[in-house]
Assembly symmetry: C2
Homo-oligomer: 228 residues x 2
């Protein structure tokens, strides 16, 4: 595994994050970049206008979704793949624990968000529910809440067993990078968070750190004019 | 990172895969275990009967989904987390390339299946479409095909650039572990695979290997009495 660190290679790399202020998958990567103290530029795609589905963007990212990270022109898609790449390329301030079993627990927590909650609730799926299944706003709201509640119930149990200040122990990991944007989404959709006191406590711990605070959607350049 | 290998530790571990013959996420893990030449036992949960949602199983796997791998009693959920754990614990016959950039490409391909296709099409979501949105069989069929086609279109482009015999180069990786079960699902739902000749060619290459062949759903012990 290549372990060039930030001082030898990263210092020379230009990092450009293609995202959108409200994309929770892009939000995960912003947190990871900030935890690594990496400087990066942002390129915005207006998801509501469908910019991510343009031929130009698909040339760069065939799946037509954000985020995509360009590192000196090398393009990486999928937020979890980007976070793992960051952790291998810049091993300082690790985003995963060192021990193999512990790594699997952190990855599993991250994947509850990234596989079991978010994909079912993202913009393209909710749009399809409205257009293909003529779902009402209330039905969409229930749909979103259902998958968040199922996933958060499992996460609450897992962090009760393995977490502390953060999802896993005393240092933020990719599990926290995934959790905080999903809690943001949950609030946005009015999901009751009272059944998840440990997740809410971890959110509070995270948001006390600059890396998480500065990654918040409302603070991104493309959120101009939108109130929090 | 812990790199005990199979000969020092794995030989003593008892591996039990909790799954279901037709679960494509369990199918991914069966392939990975076979590629590593690891012996394992199977514990079946009848997903159609809701066994994965039982209190007993959730005690072991809070998310209430398969697969779950028990390794000497240590429990790992989420198929991608299990595959990464296998690769770290048993580094012989790696499931990821060595170089950091290459690893990110393989992970991104795996995640197109594991994040962008499968979660939207799995049993619990299709059941919700039928029950909560009164979707007809035809609507469910279109729904499944839509997400497979979007994801496979991106994958076809990526393997054209990075693949060869397999999704990435000349050795099977976690991308192939994810692709083959998804192609199986696509066939099951009658999705036209003609637009994806490279994916179909990779499927043929994979199925020539015992590791993939022996992982096929129809060959699992809990598929008794079901014709292929």
């Amino acid at each position: 595994m290549d372990t060039d660190d930030q001082t030898t290679r990263g210092g020379h790399m230009t990092l450009v994050l293609h995202g959108y202020w409200r994309s929770s998958a892009a939000y995960r990567v912003r947190i990871g970049l900030n935890l690594k103290s990496l400087a990066y530029q942002q390129a915005t795609l207006d998801l509501r206008a469908g910019a991510q589905r343009s031929a130009d963007y698909r040339e760069l990212a065939p799946i037509g979704l954000v985020p995509m990270l360009e590192a000196d022109g090398f393009r990486i898609t999928q937020s979890l793949a980007i976070l793992e790449w960051l952790d291998e390329r810049y091993p300082g301030t690790p985003l995963l624990p060192e021990q193999t079993d512990a790594r699997s627990l952190v990855r599993a927590m991250a994947q509850i968000v990234a596989c079991d909650i978010h994909p079912i609730n993202n913009l393209r799926v909710l749009s399809a529910l409205r257009s293909d299944l003529t779902a009402s706003d209330a039905t969409v709201q229930e749909w979103v809440a259902r998958w968040i509640e199922e996933g958060f119930t499992a996460l609450e149990t897992m962090v009760s067993e393995h977490g502390s200040t953060f999802c896993f122990g005393e240092r933020p990991t990719i599990a926290d990078c995934c959790l905080i944007p999903q809690v943001y989404n949950a609030r946005r959709f009015g999901v009751d968070l009272n059944p998840f006191p440990r997740l809410v406590a971890i959110e509070a711990s995270c948001l006390r750190l600059n890396a998480f605070d500065m990654a918040r959607p409302e603070l991104q350049p493309d959120a101009d004019g939108v109130s929090a």
